[in-house]
Symmetry: C2
Subunit: 206 residues, 2 copies
């Protein structure tokens, strides 16, 4: 079985899931934390080397305050939970804004936790424009340069779009869409994506 080295996760559908379960939209996010841990463990167990998780974007922070607080809290908690695992964690996002949760600032340099292991990248207060607009020409031309190219992107919640997710790393990624919402996460979703991925002929434009 061909295992993608790097999987990108777009955990969409929290708000729609909350509404369809008679909750207010902001309640969806806390139900998206444990799916993150399950996905981390499952990807680690099948031999994935790097996982990038779309936390929230600078655009998302324009949503109503209750939602903003809820998704920020959920993202911070997801990072805290993964810190208890064997992982090499990196947080990528614009720290110069008040919307960045400053307790995560120390993770903007990759850090090993416990025995270390799979690279896990969290996009927190990320924005593709911010990512590409780096002015430091000497080092590299984008802010997410420590994140490698992505082989397979899995998006939950049915939408077929990238929504600004790591444009540079996504250029050759195969894109799989799960119709279920992120809080309904099951390992079988990843199995389905992997089984589809087996049939893809990766050419990188050649």
């Amino acid at each position: 079985m061909k295992i993608p080295s790097h999987i990108g996760i777009i955990p969409d559908g929290n708000r729609r899931w909350a509404l369809s379960n008679s909750m207010t939209k902001d309640k969806g996010y806390e139900n998206g934390i444990l799916p993150g841990l399950s996905a981390f463990r499952y990807c680690r167990d099948i031999g994935v080397k790097e996982l990038s998780i779309y936390g929230f974007t600078a655009d998302n922070t324009k949503r109503p305050r209750a939602q903003r607080i809820a998704f920020t809290k959920a993202c911070v908690e997801m990072v805290e939970i993964i810190k208890k695992e064997d992982a090499d964690i990196l947080v990528v996002g614009n720290t110069s804004s008040d919307m960045f949760p400053h307790e995560l600032e120390e993770l903007t340099q990759r850090k090993s936790f416990n025995k270390g292991g799979m690279k896990v990248n969290f996009l927190i207060n990320y924005s593709w424009e911010w990512d590409l607009k780096t002015r430091n020409k000497d080092i590299s031309y984008y802010n997410s340069a420590d994140i490698s190219r992505i082989d397979l992107i899995i998006r939950w919640g049915g939408m077929r779009r990238l929504s600004g997710f790591l444009p540079v790393q996504s250029v050759y990624a195969d894109f799989y869409v799960v119709e279920d919402m992120w809080p309904e996460y099951k390992n079988e979703h990843i199995d389905m994506a992997l089984s589809w991925y087996q049939e893809q002929d990766v050419t990188l434009g050649g």
Copy 2:
């Protein structure tokens, strides 16, 4: 009916179509020229304002010589055919390489043909890396800055990936995949994509 202002076209599958019709791979490309004209006219008639067509990339030019010559010729011919229509044409690609067909150089500034009309952008010897690596900080940070954001990307040939297609303009695009190969183009493919597009809730991250 909600009509996307800007449609991106990834006309893939020419080689697979040729093989399955007992031709050599390079013969696929010449059968991809008239589909381009049909797609242009159909998009114009339904009120699309801008069309971006993935011609070939710098990576593609590493393919065997017969293929390279064939797809370059097909791209130049597609531009020549669209020049006979009412259109505002722009060619975006790296002109400083021998792989760029120099007869198209005058179109790297947008030019009106006949009565003018829909903007049509051809990516010719394009590369996402070249696109983003502009060193002229004063003007903009990418080479395709004259191409606007894309609302809907339609890819023929069944692959679910962007393959380096305009990363900046594609960040919020909805992505529709046609299983048929590009030489099998029918207007109904665009109808299917549009009918799917009607159900998409465009939020731009808000």
